[in-house]
């Protein structure tokens, strides 16, 4: 970790209710540059609600999400204007959807998909955009010859890797991932995780990974939060939590993993 001890993302007391039902409640944590945080829990435990509150897809009822912006320093993203937040979403932030189809433009070629973020931040040189797109396809292990093919002709694993390339091309500092390996078979999952681990380490990315798959967080995450019924029941270093879970629910979760 760098000597800069200012957190990249500082989350304070985030709550979101759906009527009388609790989405998530009283979640606070700090994420430092280069750190990868895993959020695990069963379906309906509030992990996706929390993630959507963090990126601004949902407006939290209480709390603040302070992001250390490049220009203005720490800034609360829940109160900033929508144009500023969307600008963050195209530059410093990246969002990897569970289903690649949600994060890709299926009618646009692979190169166009990767280039979109570049063009959105003002890149206007076709040759440069194409070179960067080709370079990124290779970095996510997609044959550069397929730069003009549409994602519909790609396999599920390739689509997911294309989505990652599309998100990382502008050099974001914080990546949000919502079940990045969901719906992929195990060998493709392994390859994707390997790739993600390499990219996160090479680029010094910070990431927040929401998943129900404990193997994914074991491999990628430095720290772990376990959620249950909208609340964080346990948090700590990944290996610590997985090897010696304290809370009854964490114990249940760890013991539920199927062994081969």
């Amino acid at each position: 970790m760098s000597t800069d001890l200012r957190p990249l993302l500082s989350v304070k007391d985030i709550s979101k209710r759906y009527g009388s039902h609790i989405g998530c409640a009283g979640v606070s944590f700090d994420l430092y540059p280069g750190e990868v945080m895993g959020i695990v829990g069963e379906s309906g435990s509030g992990k996706s609600t929390l993630l959507n509150c963090l990126v601004g897809h949902l407006t939290p009822d209480t709390g603040e999400v302070v992001f250390d912006t490049r220009v203005d320093g720490p800034k609360d993203t829940t109160t900033m204007s929508e144009s500023e937040r969307r600008m963050l979403g195209r530059t410093d932030w990246a969002f990897v959807h569970q289903h690649a189809r949600d994060g890709l433009r299926m009618g646009v070629s692979a190169g166009g998909n990767v280039g979109e973020r570049l063009m959105a931040v003002g890149e206007r040189h076709y040759g440069d955009i194409r070179d960067k797109a080709t370079d990124w396809l290779e970095r996510v292990e997609i044959d550069a010859a397929r730069v003009d093919d549409r994602p519909t002709t790609f396999s599920g694993g390739m689509q997911q890797r294309l989505q990652i390339a599309r998100n990382l091309v502008t050099g974001p500092r914080l990546v949000f991932m919502d079940e990045p390996t969901g719906g992929l078979d195990v060998s493709v999952q392994a390859r994707l995780l390997d790739l993600l681990r390499g990219l996160v380490r090479d680029m010094g990315l910070s990431a927040i990974i929401v998943t129900h798959d404990l193997a994914v967080v074991r491999l990628l995450a430095d720290r772990l939060m376990v959620m249950k019924s909208g609340r964080v029941v346990e948090a700590g270093l990944t290996d610590q939590v997985l090897d010696d879970p304290q809370h009854a629910y964490s114990q249940l979760l760890v013991s539920s993993v199927l062994q081969v």
Binding site: S83, V108, E116, R124, I129
Partner: protein, 303 residues
């Protein structure tokens, strides 16, 4: 009901007032699509219902009206809209560009430069330039309001990736005064440079989509492009077969089933004006060489 029973220019005064408000708002925010309560018109959607409503709202009894369809004054659409306003407004009509004070057009800008005393009304089928890239209207509105136009360049990128050059040849997107990206209606990109700094008022009406937008005179209009693939106003690389013009937009006309074809000005008024002034193209009947060639096959049959 007789034609005289209609209000001047078919629409009632309240409706015209509503449309004029939309037009004024459009002129105040160049390139912004103003929603308006489009009325049902006595013609099918796609035949210029938006343009007709805008024309009805701006016409006065003293106006002289011209209608062009793909540059021509004599095609079905142009003839029927012209006679519609002859009957319901009783305005004078003309085919001469310089004599008209209001010109309704489909898919062309006249070759002859327009003046400050003229209004050009466009018929627009789909006013939203982002429509085929982002199907959600709520999202495209947000993109306009937040000036997020990266997606427009994705379309041009796709063109170059697939065809090696920007293959979009009509409805070529433009940026107005450095702010709104606008669909100039399906005019050929040859006409795009005429949009900017025009002396006349330009009004765009989309009936089915219920949008009006406008360009006041002398507005800056820039066609989108890439640094290494700059915008190019292209046309067929020929001269007009009838008047010999090399600077006008040309239609390709198939003349027989032996591969015979000719290129003629799409702006019929411009072409007629040139021919009246004595210009002759290489396929015109007035051209002695062309007349001889046309006569030859007949001779062969006789022998």
């Amino acid at each position: 009901m007789t034609d005289q029973a209609y209000n001047f220019a078919y629409l009632d005064e309240q409706t015209k007032r509503m449309i004029r408000r939309a037009i004024l708002k459009g002129l105040a925010i160049p390139g912004y699509q103003v929603p308006f309560a489009s009325r049902e018109m006595p013609m099918p959607y796609g035949w210029g219902t938006g343009g007709v409503q805008v024309s009805a709202a701006v016409l006065t009894p003293e106006d002289t009206f011209k209608v062009i369809d793909q540059g021509a004054d004599d095609t079905t659409n142009a003839v029927s809209i012209r006679s519609f306003f002859e009957r319901t407004a009783g305005v004078r009509t003309t085919t001469a560009t310089c004599e008209a004070s209001v010109i309704q057009t489909r898919h062309r800008i006249p070759e002859e430069p327009l003046t400050e005393n003229q209004i050009l009304v466009y018929q627009v089928p789909i006013p939203e330039p982002l429509r085929f890239l982002e199907p959600r209207e709520s999202e495209t509105r947000k993109m306009h309001s937040l000036e997020e136009y990266g997606l427009m360049h994705v379309k041009l990128y796709e063109d170059i990736a697939r065809h090696g050059h920007i293959a979009t040849s009509y409805a070529y997107p433009v940026k107005v005064e450095g702010r709104y990206v606008m669909d100039p209606s399906p005019i050929p990109k040859f006409d795009n440079p005429k949009l900017g700094d025009m002396h006349a008022v330009q009004l765009f009406g989309a009936g089915r989509e219920q949008r009006i937008y406008a360009l006041p005179p002398y507005t800056q209009v820039v066609s989108l492009d890439f640094e290494d693939h700059p915008f190019e106003a292209s046309k067929a690389d020929h001269s007009c077969g009838l008047c010999g013009a090399t600077d006008s937009y040309l239609d390709e006309v198939i003349t027989d089933d032996q591969g015979g074809r000719m290129f003629v000005c799409s702006d019929t008024d411009y072409c007629e004006g040139r021919r009246a002034a004595g210009f002759v193209g290489d396929m015109s009947a007035d051209n002695p060489a062309a007349a001889m060639m046309a006569a030859q096959p007949t001779l062969e049959i006789q022998t």
